[in-house]
């Protein structure tokens, strides 16, 4: 496969990401609809589901905030330089083709590049491993950042402080991040590790799947129950607040434990492009559960 062909496939992966809600997210939303008794939230979830169908059928972005694009890349045999170029060009092309909203603004000059590329944007994360090229694209809108937060706690802080961090950041955001939200929580020795793990836990693991460590898995289920008891509900109208909570952790430092919280709106967008020789597959969900190499 040459670089031009790869670029076309990346444009298609961005299209899948922006126009098709991943199956696991759709399933969670349908379940929320079935279980909701209150007429107003039920009506709203119904509209969200209808919107998903229209977007899919007409290949229109699900949300007008097509977000900032992040790419998680396992290089296979490709060089960073050629992949970076292919991704950047694909983003420019997708911005016109799909089209995407121009969301990359240089804050010094105030200039919107018009094509979603700019200084360090799109954000590319090089992942280790992978014999074959695998590119996961995720799109994150601005509103959902209202529920993101970071706290660096003493290493002696335990479960209680982790729960407090998550509950407070969800509570203060209220209806702003477009609930029902999905939460990624990262625990690690430093701020950037915690936030990186939180974002990966949020986007790279399918909804409904629990962490392999049973204590973490139990914390996920308990946090999900508690977040839902905040009773923010769909767009703030009461009821279901979160569809899922994923936690990932790294070993912490003897003196500090950073807790990062990253939230997605109900429109959790991801697509995975897998390239094996000349055969390619694009899916809107990751078939491989996320396992960090720690």
């Amino acid at each position: 496969m040459d670089i031009l062909e790869l670029r076309k496939h990346i444009v298609e992966a961005i299209r899948v990401c922006e126009t098709r809600l991943p199956e696991d997210v759709k399933k969670a939303l349908r379940k929320a609809y079935d279980e909701e008794d209150n007429p107003l939230p039920k009506k709203i979830i119904g509209i969200l589901l209808e919107n998903v169908e229209i977007a899919e059928k007409e290949k229109r972005p699900i949300c007008q905030d097509t977000g900032t694009l992040t790419f998680y890349v396992k290089r296979g045999g490709w060089s960073e330089e050629e992949l970076q170029k292919a991704i950047n060009e694909a983003v420019k092309e997708a911005s016109v083709e799909i089209p995407l909203r121009p969301n990359a603004i240089d804050f010094v000059s105030g200039i919107n590049s018009g094509n979603n590329t700019g200084r360090f944007i799109p954000w590319i994360v090089w992942e280790p491993g992978g014999e074959n090229l695998e590119i996961t694209v995720v799109a994150k809108g601005g509103g959902s950042e209202a529920a993101s937060s970071l706290r660096v706690l003493p290493a002696t802080a335990g479960r209680k402080e982790i729960f407090r961090t998550v509950l407070e950041s969800v509570a203060q955001a209220g209806a702003k991040p477009c609930p029902p939200i999905i939460l990624g929580v990262g625990i690690g020795p430093s701020s950037e590790i915690a936030l990186d793990l939180a974002k990966k836990a949020l986007y790279l693991r399918p909804l409904g799947e629990r962490h392999e460590n049973s204590i973490i898995a139990e914390m996920e289920s308990e946090l999900l129950r508690m977040v839902n008891r905040l009773d923010i509900g769909v767009h703030g109208f009461g009821g279901l607040t979160a569809l899922d909570v994923h936690i990932e952790y790294a070993s912490i430092h003897p003196s500090s434990m950073a807790v990062g919280v990253v939230a997605s709106c109900w429109v959790l967008r991801r697509a995975v492009l897998k390239v094996n020789g000349n055969s390619t597959v694009i899916v809107s969900h990751n078939t491989q559960p996320f396992k960090p190499k720690l």
Binding site: L40, N51, R60, Q64, P102, A146, L167, A175, K176, L230
Partner: protein, 196 residues
Amino acid sequence: MTEEYRLRTPIKKEEVAKLKAGDILYVSGEIFTSRDRTQQLILKNKGALPFSLQGLIEYHAGPIVRRRNSQWEIVSLGPTTSFRMESSEYDFIKETGIAGVIGKGGMGEKTRKACREFNAFYGVLPGGAAALLSKKVEKILGVYWLEELGVPEAMWHLRVQDLGPIIVAIDSFGNDIYDSLRKRVNENLSRLLKEV
């Protein structure tokens, strides 16, 4: 008991006075999009606009548009987080005479005060339902400050048909669904923190 209304802009003040927090609206007629930087330019130049803002609806949104045969076309248009506009909304409602503001996520004390004093309302649309809501736009009537502000922040003057459901979040009596939400969530939060 909540009511459902179909309103056409320009909306009269007595129609706004009927609305109660929790009611559902479908709006037809002229509206315009606006965000933080747009509001400043509108206030500075409102005399120069070729249409009156009186009785119209300000829509907190930043659309995706496409140019086809030299015509603009809306690809995707849904509400954006309204709270960014909270610091300027009082003056905006006061100076423009708009009937209401729509967006998502809720506003604060200043907007509540403006709704009470100037007989206006704040409503929310389902966030993230852009593909569906775009279909309610019949025509783009004009675009202002596109060069200075870029596509998402420019003022898009639109004609819509049955844009909704808009849930009235703040009515002209100052009732606010999101203020009740904040109180409820804070109580729940205190209770939960004692449990963990």
